[in-house]
């Protein structure tokens, strides 16, 4: 069975590493991008099933990235949600 693909957009490399580690253990195929701009590029290349994005990031923030992606993604196949570890639970 093909693994679901997650695009993780997070500017803090350590946090990115930890989340990637956890998601990989959960059986996902994880790709990482350090900011919204890179995330947007990677979205075009790898067509992920789900995007997990930080909100506050340099260059392009999470909301802007998701807005641009949902504009480009005509099929609206991809889900996106902001991640704010533990505080918004």
């Amino acid at each position: 069975m093909k693994k679901d693909k997650i695009l993780l957009v997070e500017d803090d490399s350590t946090l990115s590493f930890i989340i990637q580690d956890a998601l990989t253990r959960e059986g996902f195929d994880v790709e990482c991008a350090p900011n919204g701009e890179a995330g947007l590029k990677m979205f075009g290349k790898s067509a992920p099933d789900v995007i997990v994005a930080d909100v506050m990031m340099p260059k392009m923030d999470g909301f802007e990235m998701v807005r641009l992606i949902s504009k480009a993604d005509f099929t609206r196949r991809t889900g996106a949600f902001p991640h704010r570890p533990h505080s918004s639970r």
């Binding site: 803090d12 350590t14 946090l15 930890i18 989340i19 580690d21 956890a22 253990r25 506050m56 704010r84 570890p85 533990h86 505080s87």
Partner: protein, 438 residues
């Protein structure tokens, strides 16, 4: 933001309206003064005219009138002054004379014979008596004009409701003279305007500053939230991940995660220390409101409050004379006492006795709590210092209470001392005068 703009616009328009209104009133006042001035000049010309006509009348008709003679004599003598009060009845008579001339068609002819030396002399003298001292003044016949009258006022002197043009009068414009008369009004108006302007500037300046401070606070909070949240998020995620996907065999991963947690926590603690020390900076510039304060009610209030808050039995004995005043800031005095009493309650066993005693030289707060080790005593007033041995760490706090107490005590010009025996209790003594003064 919007409010600030509105305030600015309202203030600026208020000033603009005030300036416009002031300018308008000034202009009207200036016109009034100018008109008064011209009226005076015209009356001087009239006097000169009358006297010249009398001269003509006498030479043509040999008018034998003692009054006319007197006036004529006076015109020749510039030192005399009586003609200044030239009576209306005589003027009327002379005007009749002029009318008669005009009716006979002799006006133009007689004009030529007019002695402009007399007119000019009398005119100048008249100006002088009227208290007017223009730099330049001249009376000319109606058919001659000055080629260059820049800076001069030209007055066409007429009689018969403007039908007969008698003289052209040129006089240096008394702009400066008129302004001099108005100087008091102008000065006060200017001062009020300047004062208003300054007040409004000050107001805007303050509003602007408050806005900047507000903005800075917002930015600070925003940045701080991000800065504080990120390390918390990282440490949290690392710990969460370790618990959830615990793998004893993968020692490298475990170590790496623990290291991450440690790193972020130490970063956080540094940040928190910075924030706290920043707020402590305010002590340096803090102003106290020092006044006589009756010490007993303050102690009673604070003790009552602390006793209620405590989670164990607290017995506070207060031995302070009624109406004992000290010179202090009542708010900070209360804070000092509540800090000391709070410490006494915190660092004690299951219950605590506190004795508070004061006279006009000092106040003593003593407890029977757990006490402080001798080695720790010199540091207890240091910023962020906390006695960390044993279960005392449970008591909580930032290590700022006694630091604060010491800062305030020193700002008040007092001194604070501590003695303590572990297991028996601690005694704080605040002396109302510093050591140097005694």
């Amino acid at each position: 933001m919007k409010k600030f703009k509105t305030i600015t616009i309202v203030c600026l328009s208020a000033i603009a309206i005030m300036i416009a209104a002031n300018a308008w009133f000034m202009h009207r006042l200036y016109d009034t003064y100018k008109q008064q001035y011209i009226d005076k000049v015209e009356s001087c010309v009239r006097q000169a005219d009358i006297i010249s006509w009398i001269s003509i009348a006498q030479s043509t008709y040999n008018v034998d009138d003692s009054k006319l003679n007197l006036i004529l004599t006076l015109t020749g003598d510039t030192t005399e002054t009586e003609w200044y009060d030239y009576p209306d009845v005589d003027r009327k008579m002379v005007e009749e004379l002029i009318s008669a001339f005009a009716a006979q068609g002799e006006y133009d002819q007689q004009m030529k014979g007019k002695n402009f030396t007399i007119i000019d002399n009398v005119f100048r003298r008249q100006l002088d008596y009227a208290g007017l001292h223009p730099d330049y003044a001249v009376v000319l016949p109606p058919d001659s004009t000055l080629s260059d009258d820049s800076g001069l006022w030209h007055i066409k002197f007429t009689i018969d409701q403007g039908n007969t043009h008698l003289y052209n009068v040129y006089i240096s414009s008394l702009g400066t003279e008129v302004l001099k008369q108005m100087s008091g009004i102008i000065a006060t108006s200017a001062m009020i305007l300047i004062l208003m302007g300054f007040l409004i500037w000050y107001l805007l300046h303050w509003v602007g500053r408050l806005r900047t401070i507000e903005q800075m606070k917002d930015d600070f909070t925003h940045n701080m939230t991000h800065e504080l949240k990120t390390p918390v998020a990282v440490a949290y995620s690392a710990a969460d991940s370790m618990l959830r996907y615990y793998d004893q065999s993968d020692e490298a991963r475990n170590k790496q995660f623990l290291k991450i947690i440690m790193q972020r926590l130490s970063f956080l603690s540094g940040m928190i220390e910075n924030i706290l020390s920043m707020s402590m900076e305010r002590f340096k510039t803090m102003k106290l409101n020092i006044e006589p304060v009756a010490i007993k009610p303050v102690v009673e209030d604070v003790s009552g409050m602390m006793g209620l808050k405590a989670d164990k039995p607290v017995d506070i004995n207060i031995d302070i004379p009624d109406n004992l005043p000290v010179r202090a800031d009542s708010l900070h005095l209360g804070n000092i006492l509540s800090n000391l009493i709070d410490n006494a309650i915190k660092y004690s066993g299951d219950s605590v006795n506190i004795n508070i005693k004061a006279d006009d030289r000092s106040i003593i707060i003593a407890d029977n709590g757990i006490g402080i080790e001798k080695g720790n005593l010199p540091y207890i007033f240091d910023k962020f210092y906390r006695v960390t041995s044993g279960d005392r760490y449970e008591a909580g706090g930032y290590g700022l209470g006694l630091f604060y107490v010491k800062q305030i005590v020193e700002l008040l010009g007092w001194s604070i001392d501590v003695t303590s025996k572990p297991g028996q209790g601690t005694r704080f003594t605040i002396k109302f005068k510093s050591d140097e003064e005694r």
